[in-house]
């Protein structure tokens, strides 16, 4: 089943073109890696799918389960099952992680026509997932990401991903700022969420992450479009030869 269908997408910021005629099709159960040099438009793509304001879509479509995603508010997209793991998760002082998780989860459940979770149900669920990600109770009591290390922030993203049970996860450079141990924990958390109903788009610079999260497909982005697609072996090729060959191709 096709989850995400992007056709001839064109996106600009301040009348500068960032994405130029991008196509991408993602089915349930698949893991797609998007690689590419800095400035190729990878993060912009993730922001546009999630609905971040400030981008102008000048052409093309993004369909999610056949519905026009671009017509939806960011919170509606979240409720439909789109989840963006941020490259730079923000710090929110004064809002405890626990309160934030609960508010967000209940907002999504409400939008999906489901009732709020009871406190014991919610706590059980959070503690279960938090435990598997080495997230301590103390972290859950602190302000969202306040005083968290880079690795802790990324683990907190994965925690949310597990709690909200999205059908499409976009991981924007989830490996940036992680040491090898943190990377293992994060990757194993993500792998645990792979399922036939769920798709993932893994955005990264480096092949390294793809040792841990093995993709079904690899796409190379350059200058705002996908210039080459292939199997996981393409990532190895990139590691060996670099992105330079695609810069000219685009």
């Amino acid at each position: 089943m096709t989850l995400l269908e992007i056709q001839d997408l064109n996106v600009g910021v301040d009348s500068r073109e960032i994405i130029r005629g991008l196509d991408l099709m993602v089915n349930a159960g698949e893991v797609h890696a998007i690689m590419g040099p800095n400035g190729s438009g990878k993060s912009t793509l993730s922001h546009v799918i999630a609905g971040k304001p400030g981008y102008e879509v000048t052409g093309g479509h993004i369909l999610f389960r056949g519905e026009d995603l671009l017509e939806m508010e960011p919170n509606e997209r979240a409720a439909k099952g789109v989840f963006l793991a941020f490259q730079y998760p923000v710090e929110i002082p004064g809002v405890t992680t626990m309160n934030f998780l609960r508010t967000a989860l209940n907002a999504q459940r409400k939008a999906r026509g489901r009732g709020e979770l009871s406190t014991p149900e919610f706590l059980k669920k959070v503690r279960e997932v938090a435990g598997s990600l080495n997230i301590t109770r103390d972290m859950l009591k602190r302000g969202v990401n306040v005083g968290f290390s880079g690795g802790e922030k990324k683990r907190n993203e994965v925690l949310q991903m597990a709690l909200f049970e999205p059908s499409l996860c976009i991981l924007d450079e989830i490996d940036s700022g992680l040491d090898i141990d943190a990377l293992r924990i994060v990757a194993s958390g993500i792998n645990g969420l792979r399922s036939p109903e769920r798709a993932m788009i893994v955005i990264t610079h480096y092949q390294r992450l793809l040792h841990y999260i093995v993709p079904d497909y690899v796409h190379v982005m350059s200058k705002g479009r996908v210039v080459k697609s292939g199997s996981k072996e393409l990532a190895l090729e990139l590691e060996a030869c670099g992105y330079a060959q695609f810069e000219t191709a685009a």
Partner: protein
């Protein structure tokens, strides 16, 4: 009496006003003379204006222009309206003392309760029963501030509360000041004395009864927290949308005594709270915090002057303002450290959140440090909500409004969480949330 009390432009006032008001103001013996002197002091200075540093952002001559005539004594209908409004802001478990249009209303107050622990009289009662004028000092104006001088001249009533040595009053004492009239003013003046080791919480709520509009409230609270005493004082101004409220707090804190001060302004047209705190005993501690919730055309000014007069005192201040529409929030925080006040620790943080393009915030921290072995810091910021935070929350399923609400609550929470007592913190939080809901 439709004539105004004092024209602003000239800054002078005709003493006829005082003369006509005096008949209705309590106090015999020396009292009328002291009132007349205070009135002269006011008349010389006139309403404060922007060329005076302390009133730079709140130019009363421009903002209110004139002082309105004294409100009439509330009749039965006014008291009934006041009662209904007072009920809505009642703090759970509080001993309630109600002033209506500047006059103490015993029939609306819980006077009989706690009479063993708490000594309460109305200012009127004290001044009238003091034939010799021994209590005349209660209307003595000790500062050169014109609005305080005017209050001394015109105060029609107030409360005189004392708590004896070592007594702890567990229930909050709530002074509810209700305005029922229109285009009139009320002058109230209260005294609060905590003797050595006494503990109390005093909440002051300024509200309006249904139908009240365009009134002016001028209140002065003079408090003394004796040695080792502990006073929590909350002031919440929720006046009618077109009302003026000028309140002053003059509070002295004794040796190893503690003062927790919290001020919230959430409605009205012009609001100024000026708190003058003297840390006059070694080892005394002040925690002063507050929130200005400003929308429509409200001008809300919170000015705190802390005088570190002796060594080893601590003051911590945290003020937050949320400003929407064409509102303006002013925060002035002046910290004076006297030459003898070594080992002073003082901090001041003031932040404003601007929610509209027309919203304005003025933050003025002022440190006057004359001692060398002190730790003093201050910080002031103002800005809009961070769009990255709003987007993060929206991407997690919160609507834009809910995301903003959560962030604003967290922002003011930084100040509200400093309120020591759980029930009062909840009370203030509920009022703030009500304000936020109304904003939508």
């Amino acid at each position: 009496m439709t004539q105004v009390l004092a024209k602003a432009d000239a800054g002078c006032a005709t003493s006829n006003f005082l003369a006509s008001a005096l008949e209705r103001l309590p106090g015999a013996g020396l009292v009328p003379h002291i009132r007349a002197r205070a009135f002269e002091a006011y008349a010389r200075a006139g309403l404060p204006h922007r060329r005076m540093e302390a009133w730079r952002y709140t130019d009363l001559r421009a903002l209110i222009g004139e002082v309105l005539p004294l409100a009439p004594r509330p009749d039965a209908a006014a008291l009934a309206r006041a009662k209904a409004s007072a009920r809505r802001v009642a703090v759970d478990q509080a001993v309630k003392l109600v002033l209506v249009d500047g006059i103490f209303a015993p029939e609306l107050s819980d006077l009989g309760e706690l009479k063993n622990e708490l000594h309460v009289q109305s200012l009127r009662e004290v001044l009238e029963n003091s034939a010799t004028g021994a209590m005349a000092g209660l209307v003595l104006s000790t500062t050169d501030d014109a609005v305080i001088a005017l209050n001394a001249a015109m105060a029609s009533d107030g409360l005189v509360i004392s708590i004896a040595e070592g007594n702890t009053i567990r229930r909050p004492i709530q002074i509810v000041q209700v305005a029922t009239g229109s285009s009139v003013s009320a002058f109230t003046r209260s005294y609060l004395q905590l003797d050595k080791g006494a503990h109390a919480t005093v909440v002051q709520s300024f509200i309006s009864a249904e139908g009240a509009s365009g009134y002016q409230a001028n209140d002065v609270l003079i408090a003394l927290a004796g040695d080792e005493a502990s006073l929590s004082h909350l002031r919440i101004a929720a006046d009618a949308a077109d009302a003026v409220n000028i309140s002053s707090g003059i509070i002295a804190v004794g040796t190893r005594a503690k003062l927790d001060l919290f001020s919230m302004t959430c409605s009205g047209s012009i609001n100024r709270y000026q708190g003058f705190v003297t840390l006059g005993g070694e080892g005394s501690k002040l925690s002063a915090n507050g929130v200005n919730l400003v929308k429509d055309k409200l001008h809300a000014d919170t000015t705190i002057v802390v005088d570190h007069a002796v060594p080893h005192c601590t003051s911590r201040q945290k003020f937050r303002a949320v400003v929407d529409d064409c509102g303006r929030s002013v925060f002035q925080g002046r910290i004076v450290v006297r030459p003898v006040a070594q080992k002073t620790v003082a901090s001041l943080s003031t932040r404003a959140l601007l929610l509209s393009d027309q919203a304005a915030a003025d933050n003025k921290p002022e440190l006057e440090i004359s001692a060398d072995d002190v730790t003093c810091s201050h910080g002031a910021t103002s800005g809009a909500l961070d769009n990255n935070l709003v987007f993060y929350l929206r991407a997690r399923g919160l609507s834009e409004m809910d995301a903003q609400m959560l962030l604003i609550k967290a922002f003011i929470g930084e100040s509200i969480e400093e309120i020591f007592a759980d029930n009062l913190r909840d009370f203030v939080t509920a009022q703030a949330e009500h304000w936020l809901q109304e904003r939508l």
